[in-house]
Amino acid sequence: MKSGKAAPPAVVLEMALLSSDRVGARKILKDSCSMDEPYQCISDVVEPALRSIGVKWADGEASLSQVYVSGRICEEFIRSLPVPSSGIRPDQPVIGIGVLEDYHTLGKETVMTALHASGYRVIDYGAGLTVSDLLEKIKDDGIEVIFISALMLRAALKVRELTASLKEAGLSVRVIVGGAPFLFDEHLWEEVDADAFAHDAAEAVSLVGGASS
């Protein structure tokens, strides 16, 4: 760089992650993170890097495998920190995640990894869930935020049944959806009455407690 000014750690990390440079990424994280303040490291370095990679994927400038591997590398680092990964976020909501109807779990795994990499504890309900399965689990576990991944349009449209059932049961649960059908049709999340749609895993993290997409 002509100015001689070093690039921010998040930018350097992003480059290492996009190259699947596990060793380099780990070194950047180690060098730029204080073990005493893991959450600071997550919010200042990990989340911006993952978010930028997610945006690149949505824009066609990165691939899904890069999103997946980046999340995995960051998750491994967070897990190596001297605090339990479930305890980094003190006031987190009760979060669940699952795949409706089918067994394509990559989207779920990628979001779950990004959530772990951001210090959230997540209850994984797995794949092949029916709406009634998921509704029961949400009730039993007192879920406050549910992430739903869907690959097929049919499964995506089933979210509407879930949101209607949640309303009928008087449950206040934030429903965040993601997956190919929502990516191709940016109004689909509204059609199924979800609270938000995440284009990518890092955006999913940013939606845990916040605004709609």
Partner: protein
Amino acid sequence: MTSLERTEAALSLTEADRVPLILNLTMHGARETGLSIREYYSDPANVVLGQERLRKRYGGDIMTGFCYGAAEAEAFGGETIFFDDGPPNAGAPPIRDIESLEAPDPATSPALLRMLTTTRILADRYGDTVPIAGVAISPFSLPVMQLGFGRYLDLLLAEDPLFWRLMEVNREFCITWASLQIEAGATAIVYFDPVSSPTIIPPELARKTGLAIAKEIIREIPGPVAYHLASGRALPIAKDLIGSGAVAVGVSALESLADLKEAFKGEIAIIGNLDGVSMHRWSMDTATQKVREAIEMAAPGGGFILSDNHGEIPWQVQDPVIRAIADAADLYGRYPVP
């Protein structure tokens, strides 16, 4: 012109009487015949009747014996989950041990055998005038159903020797399956390979793996091949797709048809790219407009086949919209297009 002549003209990069239209209607045959989707796919006679009725209702320049992708995973021991209102889906991944895996004979798999029978009947009845499309999932993309996406990516990205062992098995299966369909009378094979798309893996990795495998496979399939990325992006690997030996490429709604036309012009035909997901909510006017726009961007000079971008129109897309697409294709697709 017959549908076959029209499609051949497009694949030869010339203008026919009008733009060929591929309506990838598979499940809709069940609606036409009044059967559940499961029942419909259980007997080739049902699928033949469904294909006949769909062609009569909407026109369209292709027929197919293809039923559902999970059938290929069934040949490897997988289960298929049927729904009343959507495509059959692959159940839990069936493969645990890659080392001892052997390629099954597609001709002994009941679901694939039904597709072969359907292809044979359609080819006998209509093959002289209508292209009969066969479908084969690429060796590189089939593992998504065989292993699950996460496990497969781990295998691929770790450069594990078992990855190449799996490719060897799948390669044999794919070539055999595609060849059987050609023998049964399929005019061409649609080679579905979404994992090689830059949407899923970086182009440089695809060039060392999926795209290299595709080039070998396409050479060995005894008939023309259309390379379909099933909604995945194509532009960053356009040159590789052109060099793959395929005669056409199925392109995504995520990319501009004008850019795609420019990238593939004079090289191979493009098939696409109406968005099947939002299609279920289109009005008839929207359908007409989308068709018109696609034709204006990609039809001039030939080498364009109008279709959806995924290779299958969702069950939720209803008759008025399909009819509007077909009518607009007929109205605006006549050469010379404006």
